[in-house]
Subunit: 177 residues, 2 copies
Amino acid sequence: MKKKTIAIDMDGVLADFESQLIDHYNTAYGTSLTKESIQGLSEEEAFKERDLLFKVLNKDNFFRTLPVMQDAVESVRELQKNFEIFIVSAATEFPVSLAEKVAWLGEYFPFIKWENIVLCGSKRIINTDYMIDDHCKNLDYCIGKPIMFTAFHNVNQTHHLRVNNWKEAVAVLNETL
Amino acid sequence: MKKKTIAIDMDGVLADFESQLIDHYNTAYGTSLTKESIQGLSEEEAFKERDLLFKVLNKDNFFRTLPVMQDAVESVRELQKNFEIFIVSAATEFPVSLAEKVAWLGEYFPFIKWENIVLCGSKRIINTDYMIDDHCKNLDYCIGKPIMFTAFHNVNQTHHLRVNNWKEAVAVLNETL
């Protein structure tokens, strides 16, 4: 039988974007943001200086050096037994991130083939059975079943099935088999 | 009413990949391939030295300097009046091409927003109403209606609706309105 498909986001889901952004933003701007201090804020509220935020995100190696999320590697490998995995990242806004993202995946997820990597803008045209993402802007319009991965900016959202970490994600998805 | 969506390929459809590849391959390998001499051959038959082909495709600026296909700019702009256009390129096999493709689109198609650019591997999960592409490996498995854009390697394929140039593509698509 054909395996069901899962689209998995990178920033905030496979990669710990939040820690890295806080670090780089604090260093560049002299702020003292912490994971706790930005809980429940939108990205716009947490990182108020949009120009500076974009400067940080456009810096060489920002995306290449993101820490990998806890349990992500083993979990994706586990899911790959029963699902076809696509990595789907909204990345075309930051051209410098594109090759870095492919290289980052090559380092941590070498078992994901290039055929299964999608660097896009809008995820509205991505047709997979499930989509794991941290952003409502993607989950609200996705074709498959949305699964919200907890992040500081989505903790007050209640309209999607939520998973708080990779162990929960694997459990929820394996239950559908 | 929501506009219907079209996924448009880059290499061989928006960009004249064939001319550039023949030029660079001949220069690097001392061959004398021409558009006429490779008509009806597969890519593997036309460009026999796979290692060299990959070396050419991985060279800096190969994708950034592709000529734009005749009538492509005006045609996409025309289609954009009645359709939502997504540019969908199978590019993750060549990481160096990724930022170059976004820059190339910025030069010739500045009216395409980053949200509508998809750099992917397999196009099986791209869900648009139409897909314009030159490769059976994409058209045979696409979700929407496939439209084959003529290229040297597909002239003997007869199982898809064919357009030979951008003027024909616009005529075929506008007829669906």
